[in-house]
């Protein structure tokens, strides 16, 4: 996929926060927003945004997916086309894959050429958060500090569809005090897969348990990743299986949301007003 190169450093971006982050993990959205602002990027949050339609697309309901895709394009398209924002940034590899790969395809399929072209143009300025921080802003570190041992799980859409892998690893390496260990069989899928987790819950969970075993083997206290959907699945498994480590969205690590030390989840976390929830507390 063609990605735009910026002659000048972008000034303003639209945050595509994703519905899951909005409703389930606001802390991740806040972290993403603050990470961008700290780097002198003005963030706009188009409040009309809801869901990109991936669940419908994933389940095979293309008409429903197109309905939401049209809506997405009507919200973000004018912002980009008018030059009001330079880029669209999202803390989710999976949702970026939907908007920047599959939108184009589903409008091609329905022979809505205009929309398919619009999707393609938007795709060239749509970035996953770490991709934007590293590739566009040239960051090597966000200045975060965290004591403890973490590992990185490359979520499938991010890793295989977007080809983003070095970027989050680089930023993680740049966290002061954090020891980043290898995750055995790291690039194996965690088993989430959207509707797959419900329709084939037995297989999905077996894959999740394999991920949990490897996470345990790695000796890490935390698994960093770039998608809250996979995070929900992995944490659901870790919690049910009684494994002590937890998955965290990388934005929260990079923006110092986890306190100063990765603690074993058995110790309760201090309440934080602004970042109201954590897993399993």
């Amino acid at each position: 996929m063609h990605k735009a190169t910026f002659e000048q450093r972008p000034k303003r971006v639209a945050l595509f926060v994703t519905c899951m982050v909005d409703m389930l993990y606001p802390g991740v959205g806040i972290a993403a927003c603050e990470l961008l602002e700290k780097n002198d990027i003005e963030v706009i949050f188009p409040e009309e945004q809801t869901c990109c339609g991936q669940p419908a697309f994933n389940a095979g309901y293309r008409d429903e997916a197109r309905k939401l895709a049209r809506r997405f394009l009507s919200i973000f398209g004018p912002l980009v086309e008018s030059g009001e924002v330079d880029a669209i940034v999202s803390p989710s590899g999976s949702c970026v894959t939907m908007t920047s790969h599959f939108f184009e395809a589903i409008f091609e399929e329905s022979q809505e050429t205009e929309l398919s072209h619009q999707a393609e143009r938007l795709a060239s300025v749509t970035f996953e958060l770490t991709e934007f921080l590293v590739d566009v802003l040239g960051l090597v570190s966000t200045g975060a500090q965290l004591q403890g041992k973490a590992t990185y799980h490359p979520c499938c859409h991010l890793y295989r569809e977007l080809g983003v892998d070095e970027q989050p690893r680089k930023l993680l390496d740049g966290v002061e005090g954090l020891e980043v260990v290898d995750l055995p069989h790291g690039d194996d899928c965690c088993g989430f897969g959207g509707l797959f987790a419900i329709k084939n819950s037995g297989i999905s969970a077996a894959m999740g348990r394999a991920k949990a075993r490897y996470a345990e083997q790695s000796g890490a206290d935390a698994i960093a990743l770039c998608d809250v959907s996979c995070m929900t699945h992995i944490n659901g498994i870790l919690s049910r299986e009684g494994v002590s480590c937890r998955a965290h969205h990388i934005a929260e690590i990079l923006n110092n949301h986890l306190g100063s030390t990765l603690r074993p989840p058995s110790q309760p976390a201090p309440a934080q007003a602004d970042h109201p929830r954590r897993w399993g507390e």
């Binding site: 949050f45 669940p55 389940a59 084939n200």
Partner: protein
């Protein structure tokens, strides 16, 4: 517990997940093969090889009928008999007739997916013939009365002690778990069969159109045996297994071997261009080639032609985390793993006959990364899901659910109200069960059967955003 391939999908999956031996055997073997593949592709210009084989195969399929005619005319010129089969029944009948006409009572076979597709063994046995599979793995599963569970490693699902049990049971082998002893026994038994057989049957890894040459690839040498020892040699090949030239064949051979087992070349690549000629010491007196459609042309017409690029290396199975958990039998068709999840429904008269398979994947893309011809398997699986929906083959509650979701998400107001309701409800519920939700109503009970679920946030991101905006305005 063994997987009953005739059981409904859900039962097959349960049986597979319930078999601890299966996971150990399958994941050990698939890891080994995947690592070997990666190392072997990294040792060369692997990406270039993949692109070139894909290009070559794309060209073949663009000119498919022409290449088929070229192959046919060259095979005929070389003295082979060419038969065309539309599907299972006529293919079975052709092979059966050849056997009966030649009074071949014993048939030796080299592992072949095309003959699995047409259930050839069963048909020949019904006609009173004895059929012996000669690939070691295939021989074992034939003794155990099971279908293959992997394209290149048919007995991948069994552990050594399980195989030893089969040999003790069926071949009166004295108790041993010594692989070399078991292999010697199989060699001795099968050697008798090779010398006695009246007919050999194999599939075809690829056929060279310009020369009329059938290529089969094995490590054990059984492919050479079945194509050399009996008087009659029958090849059953899917009509897509074509390459234009000898050089193309050599290129694809290397892509196949590296992707399947990580070998530079398999031990044997046996290339048959026709029956023995006057003065030849050995080789079959008759060579029959059955060109089998069995849904392939339908697959192209349905839009799944890309899967016809498949060279049957099994790399996608080895790379697939789903296959690792459930093995091959749970897929319930001739082909399994990611390529099977596409091929089984796409080849079938009705896609909906295999309506579960396109959903038996997390769409992680590891298969596409491993595929030597870069088939976009996740995309094809998504297309199949869409076709199933269009045909009305998806469950009604699901269709209703997705439509409602799409409507809710089409309105910011409804979306925000839904968020608030879910937050209040899930927090109340979670509060009662100690922070995490352990049980959700159907269909979400699929989630909580194996995983906990955390409640929605009390305050959404957009709440924070608005609060902040308000605060800033006040300041």
């Amino acid at each position: 517990m063994q997987v009953d391939i005739h059981a409904p999908y859900k039962d097959r999956v349960q049986q597979a997940l319930g078999d601890p031996n299966l996971r150990v055997a399958v994941s050990k073997a698939t890891d080994r093969m995947s690592n070997a593949r990666r190392a072997s592709m990294d040792a060369i210009e692997g990406q270039q090889l993949r692109s070139q084989v894909r290009k070559m195969k794309e060209h073949v399929l663009s000119n498919w009928p022409d290449y088929l005619e070229q192959l046919e005319s060259n095979l005929t010129r070389n003295g082979c008999t060419v038969h065309w089969a539309e599907g299972v029944e006529d293919a079975q009948a052709i092979v059966k007739d050849v056997a009966l006409q030649n009074s071949a009572n014993l048939v030796v076979k080299s592992k072949s997916m095309a003959t699995e597709e047409i259930h050839l063994n069963h048909a020949l046995e019904e006609a009173g013939l004895r059929v012996v599979e000669t690939d070691l793995g295939e021989y074992i599963i034939q003794l155990a009365d099971e279908p293959p569970s992997h394209i290149v490693a048919p007995v991948i699902h069994k552990r050594l002690e399980e195989i030893a049990e089969v040999f003790q049971d069926k071949l009166d082998m004295p108790p041993t778990r010594e692989p070399t002893k078991m292999t010697s026994l199989a060699r001795a038994k099968l050697r008798q069969e090779f010398f006695a057989a009246g007919m050999g049957v194999s599939g075809c890894n690829f056929a060279i159109a310009e020369t009329g040459t059938i290529c089969i690839v094995t490590n054990e040498g059984n492919g050479r045996m079945v194509s050399s020892m009996p008087r009659v040699y029958v090849v059953v090949m899917g009509i897509e297994k074509l390459v234009p030239t000898v050089e193309d064949a050599y290129l694809q051979l290397q892509a196949l071997c590296r992707s399947a087992t990580g070998q530079q070349l398999t031990v044997y690549c046996s290339m048959t261009s026709g029956p023995r000629q006057e003065g030849d010491v050995d080789g079959p007196e008759q060579v029959h080639v059955v060109l089998l459609d069995n849904g392939r042309s339908r697959m192209l017409a349905r839009g799944y032609g890309e899967a016809l690029l498949c060279i049957r290396c099994g790399a996608c199975l080895n790379a697939c985390p789903v296959y690792q958990e459930i093995g091959g039998h749970a897929y319930g068709g001739t082909y399994n793993g990611p390529i099977g999840a596409v091929t089984s429904p796409a080849l079938a008269p009705e896609i909906a006959q295999f309506k579960e398979l396109p959903h038996a994947t997390s769409l992680c893309g590891a298969c596409r990364e491993a595929c030597p011809v870069k088939i976009d398997l996740p995309r094809l699986l998504l297309d199949l899901r869409s076709d199933l929906v269009q045909q009305g083959a998806s469950p009604k509650p699901e269709a209703w659910g997705i439509k409602s979701y799409a409507s809710l998400m089409s309105s910011r107001r409804m979306y925000e109200n839904l968020g608030k309701m879910a937050s209040i409800g899930s927090n109340l519920y979670a509060g009662m069960s100690g922070g995490n939700i352990k049980l959700l109503p159907p269909p979400l009970n699929g989630w909580t059967a194996y995983r906990d679920f955390a409640p929605f946030a009390p305050k959404s991101f957009r709440d924070w955003w608005r609060d902040r905006k308000k605060l800033r305005r006040q300041a």
